[in-house]
């Protein structure tokens, strides 16, 4: 089991979410986050924006679904060729999962 965290542009999260749901990966959690990347935010003249709004999508999935989910996010969160700020995807391991309503282990 893995946890996929994707930080995407707020205006792109709806597209990503609906594409994920069409591909039968409907379980997802969304949080509003603020951050900056390697470009140190956006500098316009003397104004420095370094807390840019993003949305964090958290998806728990089986290992074999990883490539598919990442492909969907990459395809739909992209705004063009090489635009900074389209976001990041991180994958980390998950040891156990439980459903509270049934108390059962597993995804």
């Amino acid at each position: 089991m893995i946890m996929i965290r994707a930080i995407v542009r707020p205006e792109k999260s709806n597209v990503v979410l609906s594409e994920l749901s069409d591909a039968e990966y409907s379980g997802v959690t969304k949080e509003e986050v603020y951050g900056r990347g390697r470009q140190k935010g956006i500098i316009v003249g003397e104004v420095h924006y370094d807390e840019l709004p993003k949305e964090l999508l958290i998806i728990f999935a089986n290992d074999e679904d990883k490539d598919d989910i990442i492909k969907i996010i990459l395809k739909n969160a992209k705004t063009g060729e090489g635009n900074f700020g389209d976001g990041r995807i991180f994958v980390s391991p998950v040891l156990e999962a439980y459903t509270i309503s049934s108390g059962k282990a597993g995804l």
């Binding site: 089991m1 946890m3 409907s26 379980g27 949080e31 309503s101």
Partner: protein, 134 residues
């Protein structure tokens, strides 16, 4: 060290807090989140309750229920515990949150490699070594 991430109902934060404190896990974090599970949300029921069958007003909860993304407000609860405490913490969260209905939430257990105490600058591999037991 393990990170336990629980996505629970909004109104369950207080019962969960109390249950965890009683079980000996006073330290936690939570944040607002929205999400969806495997089953689609039954919007028909909400429409009937609102007496507005067929349309949901956009200015109230409409945004999260609109076509495209139907997401429910949840709270993302995070606590860091030692390996051997995972079982009890998970049991406590399940017991405090279980209503038996879909939407009660999910719990995930993930590995954590290192923890730092910012106040003292210490780096430890066990959560209990970082916490002052007063």
């Amino acid at each position: 060290m393990r990170e336990i991430m629980a996505f629970i109902r909004m109104n369950m934060v207080n019962p969960t807090k109390q249950a965890l404190a009683k079980a000996g896990y006073p330290a936690f974090n939570f944040s607002k989140a929205v999400g969806r599970g495997k089953k689609p949300l039954a919007t028909e029921a909400i429409e009937v309750i609102m007496g507005n069958a067929g349309s949901v007003p956009a200015d109230s909860i409409g945004e999260h229920l609109s076509e495209g993304t139907r997401l429910v407000s949840k709270r993302a609860f995070t606590l860091i515990v030692d390996d051997e405490q995972v079982e009890l913490a998970v049991k406590t969260i399940i017991k405090a949150n279980q209503t038996g209905n879909p939407g009660d939430g999910r719990i995930f257990v993930m590995p954590v490699m290192e923890g730092y105490n910012i106040r003292t600058g210490e780096c430890r591999e066990r959560e209990s070594d970082l916490t002052d037991r007063r």
